[in-house]
Amino acid sequence: MPVTLETQNSQLIALLSGELDHHSIRTIREDIDTAVSEQQPSTLILDFHNVTFMDSSGIGLILGRCKIMGGIGGTTTVRNPPPHIKRILRLSGIERLARIEMKPIETEESQ
């Protein structure tokens, strides 16, 4: 599964994984948008920890979700992008629209 969705309070967390490109994000986008319209979360968290590749199609995915979240008065957070993805995020200037957050990963021992 390229995306797993979790709800925590009023946050919708989308755990992305694998390679994000123009081909693979189609179903991811549909899955996220369906959950957003059903749950109307206050924050959408896109978790990139397990993403192994992303090109500028991923920027389109983030931008589109920022627009949708903005439309329902919510915000979008990009969590734990790996170094290579951070470079594309910086190039795109997306931090003006979405919060970029580095959150320590919870290991099994600390849970």
Binding site: F53, D55, G60, H84
Partner: protein
């Protein structure tokens, strides 16, 4: 410049092959022992160019994409991605960051900006109705002498 090794990979310009093209690039680059960052840079640039061919070049008709990768002297990587799609009428405009002809499809307009940022050089040749060829080069860091 002397070509040490080269491959040509021709594939249908469908979105599934964006991944295939990256896999081929990775396989070819193994021989150069690239850094994680170099490999990611080249894979991303190739992904952008192939996606452009699929999304824009072959928007209205089907066709093949040709990916050519060469390892040149002094650890320089040469990449050419060629389609016979619709072509670009205004290359300068197309290369402007954030410019896209498909905003409704959530295209960010950053493809060429990413290619330029991650590669040493990017050259685009295109003719409306005939297709587009993107040529990119990147020099890999030199490898220290090995004992074997």
């Amino acid at each position: 410049m002397k070509t040490l090794n080269a491959i040509r990979f021709i594939f249908p310009g469908i979105s599934l092959n964006e991944h295939t093209a990256r896999a081929v690039v990775s396989a070819f680059l193994v021989q150069t022992d690239p850094t994680v960052e170099e490999l990611a840079d080249i894979r991303t640039a190739v992904s952008e160019a192939v996606t452009n061919a699929v999304v824009h070049g072959y928007r209205h008709n089907d066709g093949d994409v040709e990916l050519c990768i060469k390892l040149l002297a002094d650890r320089e990587i040469y990449i050419r991605i060629k389609d016979k799609g619709c072509g670009i009428s205004d290359i300068e405009k197309a290369m402007e960051p954030l410019y896209t002809t498909a905003p409704h499809e959530e295209r960010s307009g950053l493809g060429f900006a990413v290619m330029q940022s991650f590669m040493d050089s990017v050259r685009v040749r295109s003719k409306p109705g005939e297709g587009t060829t993107v040529t990119m080069r990147k020099k890999l860091r030199s490898i220290p002498c090995r004992s074997n």
